[in-house]
């Protein structure tokens, strides 16, 4: 049903239930509002949108009043204008004299209205409400607050964080955080959505790098967030003269919907950090033989302690004063010639197999493609890999094996169409915060979230059922779930028949996994397993999201096989609200994999061992290629240690911190004959380099990146690279040319089109049609379509078009806790930091929120050790030990601890084992046996008083 009404003499027809405000927008009539935004549910508290409705007794608030058929509305009569002027004056009378917002980012809607209505304040201006400066990123001025509720709805309805409410009444009414705490002491996750929503100066950004100025005075560049795989669209506001980002806004696009998290909104200033590498560097003769240069890198492994008596700085990032004397500045020509010559020499002496390259999931698709081309064609080897090996390699192996495609089959936003969503092994609220906001939103709207995790993650707080399983019992758990589904006759026989094969094998293999058997192993009630099986099995549409908790095990591939089987047997594929989605950790890990930055495949997952495929590449690239799949990341490091890999080129990768068993990595890096590191900062890994090439950050180049949803987006140059730093793709081309394999590309899009020519996934896409919002590949009609959300509606890209079931049995982790090492260590990431911290620890806001390494454990475990929060503890495994501060949490299980791997002064990977999953070659980051010992003396109660309050999350 639709209704037709007249607004300011314009007729407009709208669906029943449309508000007058929305109808006016459609008719092109602008009605001022302070409390309303189309993204938010209307509340009608500011009354600025009041309009006259013919025949009505009083004026109506347009944002909440529904349009009626035949209604005659006037939005700008003298009476209406007088009221708005009066309202503006009343609101303004309590504002600070100058708007805090106009003094910073601009766009204070109240002051704009005041100017529009020519309001002069005749009433006294208030100044008695407090300010709250406690958050490192956001300043709160309660005096400038008009209680419009927008921040409350932004926090609770958009980001679903439930932090902001209101408290008090009358004049003392104010927005409040949690239990009326200061913002910086609350559970606020600093996503800044409230700042974006605030129409006045009550919530404003704090200055980060350069003084804040209104948007109009700055250059705005639409690009993509450089952090996680969600790939949020961002508008960067840039001071061109300073070559620095002043502040950012979330940009509306079909993926992220304008939302951002703390890293995206406040973590951009690393690009302008004085540590940025600006000239090529060559190691000086006196700095050989090679080894770690900074005291922190030496001692972080525990081996060098006591050998050198240099004054050691407590923690932090690489100390340039310590490292720089080992290098001298060089010209690009000198550095590139030297690097090319040494790499060529190694190739000539030992063959291409003695060379290897680590590319980066933080670079663009074009750079990833060029890098693997350089290694394959220039080095003559397939020894090329990147950090996907450390995150979702096992997921991709299982997906390729079973459904013939390594990418997600659905998007994170499509959760809204699911009845049930299984979210497992992913700390989404920390690692993919914006995706998590869509999960939480779906939960509010009725999607049943089933969260299965050994850690009570943030998303578990929104779950319909949370199952805290014992670490490393996932296979048993999911086999039991499948057991129940089969027993209860909930298998989608028609789907299984039509689209899959080998189901009988899984049916057979899960027979022994009754809920009662599984209950004992997983540490959860049998009834809970049954309940979840029934909910998943009976769902009209069930979708599965998973993360590193599933993949980073020595049987990570088995874990993934289980959830894929579960999805297939219930026919949850090829329709909205269903499917499989491994959440990708880095901005371009999907794209880097698509582009062939993997030892076994060219771009688009085409096997290097396949003669026909290789022939195609040989023809296009004009030389013979190595048919042998290359070594994976950890195998390359092992090769370096054993001396079979002698020369390496690493772009944007920091294996010193990211790879398991740091002690081994250190020895391996020191053992390399020649190492070229290309990065934006001196990383821990660069301390072992012979040549260091300064490159561009994600904000300084043109190219494309592909997010976890398969959304290909264009990143645009926001800043110019500092000093002599160059875009990575140019450096790769230059080096390749000097090695003897010319790469005469002039523009990234040439590379993009070459990729498409050789592998069809990104077919039809161009920089132009990707536009501002990007496209989900595959996309048949880029002019009219956003691309494909749901994949595999009819069959799979396998040989017979069917998906294959792969049965698995529970196997154990490599090392179990014992008397000496009684704790289970799980490593992972924090909300504020990313990967090895190279970028986030150089972002002031992020560093201010989480400045130091911590280990999280339960209060009862702390108590047993006689440790209180804030105490220094020593955590050791069979491979090494680190010291860091204890933090109490309610999210772990007894006997299990969590350490984020961002901090080099307490590098979590000193403790982890380099044992690999046999199929995915992924290390076991999620399970190590460790011991925890307290370091400080003194009674716990005295220390507690000294350690101060820490935020509860």
């Amino acid at each position: 049903m639709s209704v037709t009404l007249t607004i300011d003499d314009r007729q407009v027809t709208v669906p029943e239930g449309t508000t007058i405000w929305d109808a006016a927008c459609q008719a092109g009539v602008e009605i001022p509002v302070l409390c309303h935004d189309p993204k938010l549910r209307p509340v009608g508290v500011c009354r600025m949108c009041a309009v006259e409705v013919e025949g009505a007794r009083v004026m109506a608030a347009a944002c909440v009043r529904e349009a009626e058929d035949g209604m005659v509305v006037r939005t700008a009569t003298e009476k209406v204008e007088r009221c708005r002027g009066m309202l503006t004056e009343l609101l303004l009378s309590e504002q600070p004299k100058q708007s805090p917002k106009e003094a910073t980012t601009g766009d204070d809607k109240l002051f704009e209205l005041a100017r529009a209505y020519g309001v002069k304040v005749r009433l006294p201006q208030g100044n008695s409400r407090p300010q709250d400066d406690s958050s490192p990123a956001i300043a709160v001025d309660h005096q400038a607050c008009i209680l419009c509720d927008q921040c409350i709805r932004a926090c609770n309805d958009i980001q679903n964080n439930d932090v902001i409410g209101r408290t008090g009444k009358g004049y003392t009414t104010r927005i409040s955080f949690d239990l009326d705490n200061a913002m910086g002491k609350s559970t606020c996750v600093t996503c800044g959505e409230c700042v974006a929503a605030c129409p006045t100066g009550a919530l404003i950004n704090k200055e980060i790098e350069v003084p804040l100025r209104p948007r109009e005075q700055l250059k705005t560049v639409p690009s993509v967030c450089p952090y996680c795989g969600v790939g949020c669209a961002i508008d960067y506001h840039v001071d061109e003269k300073e070559n620095k980002v002043v502040f950012v806004d979330g940009r509306d696009n079909p993926g992220s919907g304008g939302r951002l998290c703390v890293k995206g909104r406040y973590g951009y200033d690393y690009t302008a950090h004085p540590h940025r590498l600006q000239t090529p560097l060559i190691r000086v003769d006196s700095a050989y033989p090679k080894g770690p240069l900074s005291a922190a890198v030496q001692s972080s492994t525990g081996e060098y302690e006591g050998k050198r008596k240099r004054k050691r700085k407590p923690g932090g990032i690489v100390d340039y004063d310590e490292v720089m004397p080992a290098f001298r500045e060089a010209t690009w020509d000198e550095a590139l010639d030297f690097a090319a010559q040494r790499l060529r020499e190694i190739k000539e002496q030992h063959g291409g197999g003695a060379l290897a390259g680590f590319g980066s999931a933080k670079c663009t698709n074009e750079e990833a493609y060029l890098f693997q081309k350089l290694v394959r064609a220039g080095f003559g080897t397939n020894n090329v890999d990147h950090c996907t090996r450390l995150c979702h390699a096992s997921s991709v192996v299982a997906l390729l094996e079973m459904i013939g495609s390594g990418a997600v089959t659905t998007t994170f936003g499509d959760i809204k169409n699911a009845d049930v969503a299984l979210i497992t092994g992913t700390n989404t609220t920390s690692n993919h915060p914006v995706a998590a906001s869509f999960f939480k939103e779906a939960a509010r709207a009725g999607t049943k979230l089933i969260v299965v995790d050994p850690i009570r993650t943030g998303i578990a707080d929104y779950a319909w059922r949370f199952i805290q399983i014992r670490s490393s019992t996932d296979v048993t758990f999911y086999n039991a779930v499948m057991h129940v589904i089969i027993e209860e006759g909930l298998v989608d026989e028609a789907y299984v028949q039509k689209h899959t094969y080998d189901f009988d094998k899984v049916k057979e293999s899960v027979k022994g996994y009754t809920p009662d058997v599984a209950a004992g192993i997983c540490g959860v009630p049998a009834e809970a397993i049954r309940e979840i099986a029934l909910a998943y099995g009976r769902a009209r549409a069930a979708v599965t999201y998973w993360g590193m908790g599933m993949s980073q095990h020595v049987y990570g591939t088995d874990n993934c096989r289980c959830i894929i089987s579960l999805c297939l047997m219930t026919g949850n594929m090829g329709k909205h609200g269903a499917g499989l989605h491994p959440l990708r950790g880095q901005n371009n890990v999907q794209g880097a994999s698509d582009a062939g930055l993997i030892p076994m495949v060219f771009n688009d997952y085409q096997s290097v061992a396949d003669d026909a495929i290789r022939a195609k590449y040989e023809k296009h690239w004009g030389l013979e290629l190595d048919p042998k799949p290359g070594l994976t990341m950890v195998e390359i490091i092992t090769g370096a240690l054993e001396g079979t890999v002698k020369g390496m080129y690493m772009v944007g990768e920091n294996p010193f911190l990211s790879d398991p068993n740091t002690n081994k990595v250190r020895r391996a890096l020191a053992n390399l004959d020649f190492l070229v590191v290309q990065d934006i900062f001196l990383t821990e890994t660069a301390e072992f380099a012979d040549v260091i090439l300064p490159s561009s950050s994600a904000l300084e180049k043109l190219g494309t990146v592909t997010n976890t949803d398969r959304r290909v987006q264009v990143v645009r140059p926001v800043l110019t690279p500092p000093g002599e730093a160059r875009e990575d793709w140019r450096v790769i081309c230059d080096l390749s040319t000097r090695i003897g394999y010319p790469m005469p590309y002039e523009h990234p899009e040439e590379v993009f089109q070459e990729m498409i020519e050789l592998g069809g996934a990104y077919k039809n896409l161009t920089y132009e049609n990707l536009g501002l919002s990007g496209k989900l590949y595959p996309c048949d009609d880029p002019e009219n379509s956003d691309g494909t959300v749901v994949m595999f509606g009819d069959g799979f890209p396998t040989e017979n078009g069917k998906a294959r079931f792969v049965p698995v049995q529970q196997s154990g982790p490599e090392e179990l806790p014992d008397e000496e090492y009684p704790f289970v260590l799980i490593t992972g990431r924090m909300l504020e930091h990313w990967h090895t911290g190279v970028m986030t620890r150089r972002s002031r806001t992020l560093d201010a929120i989480e400045p130091e390494a911590i280990v999280e454990m339960l209060g009862e475990d702390l108590q047993k050790l006689g440790v209180v929060e804030g105490d220094l503890v020593q955590v050791s495994s069979r491979r090494g030990s680190i010291r860091l501060k204890a933090r109490e949490t309610h999210r772990m299980q007894p006997g299990s601890i969590f350490i984020p791997f961002h901090f080099r002064e307490a590098a979590a990977n000193v403790l982890t084992s380099e044992k690999l999953d046999p199929d995915g070659k992924i290390p076991e980051f999620k399970f190590s046996a460790v011991k925890v010992e307290r370091v400080v003396a003194g009674a716990p109660s005295e220390r507690r008083a000294a350690s101060g309050a820490v935020r509860r999350r």
Partner: protein
């Protein structure tokens, strides 16, 4: 959403009564006001942050939702109170009939201003908006019992009888 049968933080008796309240409303949140009165009674007459967290868990609502309610409604106490709460009406009828004098008397004799608790913890004194008994002004509410047509003598008698 979550099947709640108490969260172990409140007495079984209270949880039973809260569950009975839930039956009467279309959604649980709607029962918050009567439930918070019960909870306040069980927790020494006031709603500490810890109590608020427990209640938020019981109702599966964010902490700040309950904090906002406690801040808004005068009959919920965000601070510790004495063994009794004395609410003296200060609105027009009572004011015209001598509420101000009674207030001054309380201040002088018992040493407490609006919102304060006597040193011996016997009672917390609050000046309140209209309590709806203008016909017998001035009046006060002591805990849940009303005392009407007050004089200083009458007021003293009531307050001194408090344990």
């Amino acid at each position: 959403m979550r099947p709640v049968s108490g969260n172990g933080k409140f007495s079984a008796e209270l949880v039973k009564r809260v569950e009975a309240l839930w039956e009467r409303y279309p959604d649980r949140k709607a029962a918050l006001l009567p439930a918070l009165h019960l909870i306040q009674k069980e927790r020494d007459g006031w709603l500490s942050d810890e109590t608020i967290r427990d209640a938020a868990e019981l109702f599966d609502v964010p902490d700040m939702h309950i904090k906002g309610i406690v801040g808004f409604y005068d009959m919920f106490h965000g601070q510790p109170v004495g063994r009794h709460v004395v609410r003296l009406c200060k609105t027009l009828s009572c004011k015209l009939r001598g509420a101000d004098e009674l207030r001054a008397h309380v201040r002088e004799k018992y040493g407490v201003l609006n919102g304060e608790t006597t040193a011996d913890g016997r009672f917390t004194f609050k000046c309140f908006e209209c309590l709806g008994h203008c016909e017998v002004a001035p009046m006060m509410l002591v805990d849940e019992e009303k005392h009407t047509e007050l004089t200083t003598d009458k007021l003293d008698a009531v307050l001194e009888a408090l344990a």
